[in-house]
């Protein structure tokens, strides 16, 4: 589904990401971990065509993401607050996203009911603008908007950051349900090893832009990870 070919990204001659060949399969729950500056966000931005690759390319469904925007219709993503249109109310924002993805009207209604618990009564039916919400609630809006179009590929950068414990648990549950009931390819990065191991069936450890380890889900996955980060 997602493939990299000789993908590198340099800033001022400094290599920040080098993924010669990585393949993420359809339906995979793919976790990305690594310390600060490991290249996690850079990788996501390259997949989403937000930055230009220094060399190589990313392909989604065998199409170069930089050349053919077809992938946008099947991809939902939330990286950071550079996504949020903060002068809209959350519901207006969802309506806008639904409009961009050309969703039929009923979808939005269903989405509101599906996400009622996730929003915990703090997002919908309010006349507050997104900019007046707390950081955690803004994060919720962004994540929900990524899920709204029922994407085939879901990309979330540090989604657990800034969420309250209840919502963290709900998000894990939500992602696991998505994994079981649909064929969604999920890409999640996180600093919290417990969270990624609970969601992901495959975990890639990035170290200074290089693949350090590519672990398929196993009993001692968490232990392996902890050993790396403790060192």
């Amino acid at each position: 589904m997602i493939e990299t070919f000789d993908l590198t990204k340099k800033y001022n001659d400094q290599l920040v990401l080098n993924l010669p060949s990585l393949k993420i399969n359809k339906g995979e729950a793919f976790g990305l971990v690594g310390n600060n500056g490991a290249g996690k966000t850079t990788f996501f931005r390259l997949i989403l065509d937000l930055i230009r690759a220094t060399s190589g390319e990313v392909k989604i469904n065998n199409e170069n993401v930089a050349e053919n925007p077809q992938w946008k219709k099947i991809t939902g993503s939330y990286l950071d607050d550079n996504y949020l249109i903060d002068f809209l109310t959350p519901q207006e924002y969802f309506e806008f996203i639904a409009g961009v993805y050309r969703l039929p009207k009923g979808d939005l209604e269903k989405f509101y009911t599906d996400f009622e618990t996730f929003f915990n009564g703090e997002i919908l039916g309010k006349t507050k603008y997104v900019r007046d919400l707390s950081r955690g609630n803004q994060q919720k809006v962004g994540i929900a908007a990524a899920l709204l179009p029922k994407p085939e590929i879901l990309i979330l950068d540090e989604p657990f950051n800034g969420l309250d414990p209840t919502t963290q648990i709900r998000l894990i549950k939500l992602l696991n349900e998505l994994k079981q009931t649909t064929d969604t390819t999920i890409l999640v990065s996180s600093h919290d090893l417990n969270h990624v191991t609970e969601v992901c069936s495959r975990i890639l450890v990035l170290d200074k832009g290089e693949v350090y380890k590519d672990i398929i889900k196993s009993e001692n996955m968490l232990k392996e990870l902890e050993e790396y980060f403790a060192a």
Partner: protein
């Protein structure tokens, strides 16, 4: 020492502002422009100072000069109220540190002394004092006069800050001030009350008896103390961010555009952007003033004969939104541009939505200028031609130029004197739009075909409207080439 650090950080902030990141040629051009303006200002005040006794030959020059001062300071107050920055947010990073509040407050208040508005009076007063007062009054008298002027300037500085902090963003206050000023000017005009007399009395007093300096000095101390008290109480960031109380908002949602489908969806977003953010609102507020531009030119019979001038006025009036709003077209969306980049798959549609709104703004402006037909059918025709040109050429050109801008804009800050996100290309953009119609007109004018020259501009506009699709495509392609650069620039938050 603390002060040293404050100043150091302040200088770093200024030096590292992305405003400086522009090409040398543009820097030189801008520097030159500012130099010209400054030089004109200097020469003007020099001339007035030197020739004052001849301009107002019947009156005592000093008394006459003083009679204007109260109005001058009132004007200064207004300008400061609308334009001077309240220097408070810059201390936010220091609030949690073990620094005494009083130190921070004094620093903030001291910093406001560096506002450029405080230095303007030097240029205005110096020539006058030198040429008109020097020969007549003693050094001691002049010293007292200068001192009282300085004290008044600084009092105005602090009073304006005090008012601004407590009242800005409050539209009723703006209206009340405007009405008050209009009332005073009217009263002066019909000689009901005379502020000029009061002004002359007040400022001449210091010359006659230096102990009057005591009054402005007391005002300054009072203004400073009020500010000090007010700031100490309101040193929490939330007080200064103008957070609106939550609760029911009257949210306009432009739902009727929904029926236009996807492009309607994008246009709704743009309209909400315009109407819900401080920066864009304060940009658009100036537009009604543009529409009054014709009043300066049309009643003047000398200019009336000159098609060039009338055309210029027409372009300006019907293209206001296009020029002023359009130049930031992409920057307006900088705070959520990653979302736009990763969600929008058809940028032709995205730019078409913006184009539609620019064209609509020209149409509306044109309709609003229709009453100018009072000055003759020719005005109507020229404005119509200008509107055609703006709808066809300017709209696309502005979109093309907006792809040059990669500086992030903070929508929650006001526009006046706010150069964040503004680069020199923004100033340059209006030149071609203004000059192009004149260039089309010029060859016709040279051979005496005045009217045909006007028609030619209309035809060019019309052609551009007909072929707007391929023209827009040029802009879209340029955007797609530059999208990484633009995205990267917009991600930078400083």
């Amino acid at each position: 020492m603390l002060l040293k650090w404050f100043v150091k950080n302040e200088m770093r902030e200024t030096r590292r502002s992305s405003m400086w990141e522009q090409s040398m040629g543009i820097k030189i051009f801008l520097g030159f422009l500012f130099f010209i303006i400054f030089a004109e200002f200097m020469l003007g005040s020099f001339f007035i100072g030197k020739e004052f006794d001849e301009i107002f030959a019947d009156d005592d020059p000093v008394e006459k000069f003083n009679s204007f001062l109260l109005y001058g300071f009132a004007l200064g107050f207004m300008v400061r109220f609308f334009m001077q920055k309240v220097p408070v947010l810059s201390i936010q990073p220091y609030l949690h540190l073990p620094i005494k509040k009083s130190k921070l407050v004094n620093y903030v208040l001291g910093k406001s002394l560096m506002a450029p508005f405080n230095f303007f009076p030097i240029f205005i007063f110096s020539p006058f004092i030198f040429f008109q007062m020097g020969p007549v009054y003693s050094g001691f008298q002049i010293l007292a006069y200068v001192l009282s002027i300085i004290l008044v300037v600084l009092s105005v500085n602090y009073l304006a800050l005090l008012f601004k902090r407590n009242l800005s963003g409050n539209n009723t206050v703006t209206i009340v001030i405007t009405v008050l000023v209009a009332a005073i000017v009217t009263a002066e005009y019909f000689e009901i009350i005379s502020l000029t007399d009061i002004s002359a009395l007040m400022f001449t007093a210091a010359l006659k008896n230096p102990s009057w300096v005591f009054i402005p000095a007391a005002t300054l101390v009072l203004a400073y103390m009020l500010n000090y008290r007010d700031l100490t109480f309101h040193l929490y960031p939330e007080d200064n961010l103008n957070l609106k109380k939550s609760g029911k908002r009257n949210v306009s949602d432009f739902k009727y555009l929904k029926s236009f489908g996807e492009i309607g969806n994008l246009m709704i977003l743009e309209l909400k952007l315009m109407t819900r953010n401080k920066r864009s609102k304060s940009t658009l507020v100036f537009l009604p003033i543009f529409l009054l531009y014709g009043l300066i030119f049309y009643p003047n019979p000398e200019l009336y004969g000159q098609n060039g001038w009338l055309l210029f006025v027409g372009i300006f009036m019907t293209g206001g939104v296009t020029l002023i709003y359009g130049q930031y077209l992409l920057s307006w969306e900088s705070s959520y541009f990653d979302g736009i980049l990763s969600h929008i798959d058809d940028f032709n549609l995205y730019f078409k939505a913006k184009h539609n709104l620019l064209v609509a703004s020209t149409l509306i402006s044109f309709i609003l200028t229709l009453p100018y037909a009072y000055f003759g059918a020719k005005i109507l025709m020229i404005n119509f031609i200008a509107a055609l040109f703006n709808m066809g050429v300017s709209s696309v050109f502005v979109i093309l130029m907006s792809t040059n801008n990669k500086k992030r804009l903070d929508l929650s800050k006001g526009a006046a004197f706010n150069y964040q996100g503004v680069s020199a290309t923004q100033f340059l953009i209006s030149f071609p739009v203004m000059l192009a119609p004149l260039l089309i007109y010029l060859p016709f004018w040279a051979f005496g075909y005045y009217d045909n020259g006007l028609y030619a501009i209309g035809v060019v506009g019309l052609l551009a409207i007909v072929f707007n699709k391929p023209l827009l495509k040029i802009a879209v392609n340029r955007f797609l080439e530059r999208r990484y650069l633009i995205g990267e620039g917009f991600r930078k938050k400083y």
